[in-house]
């Protein structure tokens, strides 16, 4: 039987409960019912000794079987040996009965007991094996009935009824155990599947909200340029319009870079802006010092806004520098560009400075918490 190894799942708990029930039944039977049967019928036995020996044997087998069963990772090897021993002990007890004593009597306490020992020992094995064991035990009892010449219609009828009745009872624990375990496992799996689906739904909802926010930003900046180009209010020959187009192109590219899964997102976005300039033939020189601290995305955007702007309008060369300390990040760009549209800060926490000297434009974007 496939018992889940995790002791905290509901399925395991149900199976363990069934095991414990069987152990309790066997313990009760052997500690109360059997001794009472032996003592009440003590006068009928030829000698008490075989009964006590058989009782002790069954007690030992019972303890071994209970311990093995209650330990969740016990192997099921050697069970049949114990089963055989139990059956033999029972047969021994029965054989020690005086011939006059009917087999199906209270004095033959082992007849009912051994069946439960089979349940205790075989509950974890396929149910078929338990059935075989019970049948074997019943056959031995039947042989005893026949051998002592008690095989009349009444006795046989009683035998069948008793075997059937106790057999059904004894087959119940393993069957119920499997049913409970199986149902619990199914319930657990469906609960997990439901949690997974809920998690996925929440994640996609968060992604949708983020996407809506991003497109709102674009609507403010990129869409007017596109609209102006579309309805001819903006002239593509105008160098100022061209600068604006390059800036918005860089903004889109930076937006795409935001969703990339890289280690240093900030530098990745900055490099995306520089990448566009390089493709135009601008020679970009880099100097970075220090590690950029963790910052929210809005600060990333605010810090890279002015550099992105400067790189987009650079003509042939640009020097990009990043100076980073835990309490300060300064991004600088020196490029050969003339700014008719000076970059401004889009965030109160970021200070943008620029300085035009002839053909050279210097732009700095600085975030400082001091």
């Amino acid at each position: 039987m496939n018992v889940p190894a995790d002791p905290t799942t509901a399925a395991t708990r149900y199976v363990q409960a069934a095991d414990r029930l069987v152990v309790v039944i066997v313990a009760t039977w052997h500690l109360i019912y059997d001794p009472v049967a032996i003592l009440l019928n003590a006068a009928l036995y030829r000698s008490l000794l075989p009964q006590l020996v058989a009782w002790s044997l069954l007690a030992i087998i019972g303890v071994i079987g209970s311990v093995q069963l209650l330990r969740t990772t016990g192997s099921t090897a050697g069970r049949w040996g114990l089963v055989a021993a139990a059956v033999l002990a029972g047969a021994f007890s029965t054989a020690a009965l005086p011939a006059a004593q009917p087999v199906l009597s209270y004095a033959n306490w082992s007849f009912g007991a051994v069946g439960w020992w089979c349940v205790l020992l075989l509950i974890r094995r396929p149910v078929v094996e338990l059935g075989i064991a019970l049948l074997a035990h019943d056959t031995i009892t039947l042989a005893a009935i026949v051998a002592t010449g008690q095989a009349d219609r009444v006795t046989l009828a009683r035998f069948v009824v008793v075997c059937f009745g106790t057999g059904v009872l004894q087959l119940l624990p393993p069957v119920i155990s499997r049913l409970l375990g199986g149902t619990a496992t199914m319930a657990e799996e469906s609960a997990q599947a439901e949690a997974r689906i809920r998690g996925r739904r929440q994640a996609s909802e968060a992604a949708r909200v983020a996407r809506v926010r991003r497109y709102q930003e674009l609507r403010r900046s990129v869409v007017p340029v596109l609209a102006g180009l579309a309805d001819r209010t903006l002239d593509p020959e105008d160098p100022t319009v061209r600068d604006r187009c390059r800036i918005e192109y860089a903004r889109l590219r930076r937006l795409f870079a935001e969703s990339d899964d890289v280690e240093d997102l900030f530098m990745h976005q900055l490099r995306a802006c520089a990448d566009l300039a390089e493709r135009r033939g601008v020679v970009v020189e880099w100097a970075t010092s220090g590690r950029v601290p963790e910052m929210p995305t809005r600060l990333h955007r605010a810090l890279t806004e002015a550099p992105m702007h400067a790189l987009a309008i650079a003509q042939s060369n640009a020097r990009v520098t990043v100076l980073a300390r835990p309490d300060e990040v300064a991004v600088g760009v020196i490029a050969d560009a003339s700014s008719s549209l000076p970059p401004v800060s889009i965030d109160p926490d970021v200070v943008v400075s620029n300085h035009q000297e002839g053909e050279q434009l210097w732009v700095e974007s600085r975030w400082c918490t001091r």
């Binding site: 020189e285 020097r319 520098t321 600088g332 300085h355 210097w362």
Partner: protein
Amino acid sequence: MVHPVTVAFVEDQPVAIEGVRSWIAADPGKRLSLIAVSGSVSEVLSGPGGQANVLLMDLQLADDRVGLQQEEVSRRVADIEALVDANRRVVVYSQHDSDEVIRAVLDAGASAYLAKREVADHLIDAILAAAEDRPYMPPEMTGAILTDDKRPQLSDQEFMACRLWFQGMKKAQVARRMGIRESTVRQYIARVRAKYAKVGRPAGTKADLLARAIQDGLINAADISPRS
């Protein structure tokens, strides 16, 4: 200082050697003279290079492989420490290095760190300054110092001047931006370099640099007292 200042060059790439030779020759004032070139420190020192005022040393970090690179760096830093302890002036120059490497080199006692692409603008001045124990700080090295956790206290003006210098502005442009004189900008940058000499491993060259800075009135003792 007696002109020309003599330079010994530790380098094994012919292209780099020719580059430096031509830069030194192109100086109109002929202020430097290259008297020895070799691929190893010991070879340079055993010849006429042993008398040179300043050693210009390549970190030879052409490899990108991390493991090998770290070994080479440690060896070079050890070389620098040995040279500095023997009272020699060392200017390091290298292709491109991380902040950690630059700081390690400066901590060992090198007078200046020069990135290869800064050679055109800063080589001569850096070597001359090293020969006289004057502070000189090319832009790339400035970044490493500004982001060092162990940096000394800097005034806002000093920090701003260095920041703009690191970003690539010329000193004249820094002066215009900050609304001060160009000589003041030079002073700020030199002061930061001098203060940084107090940090880290004690070395003869650092002490000399500090002494010279105090003597020139660049900094006073209060500027370099240990922080509480």
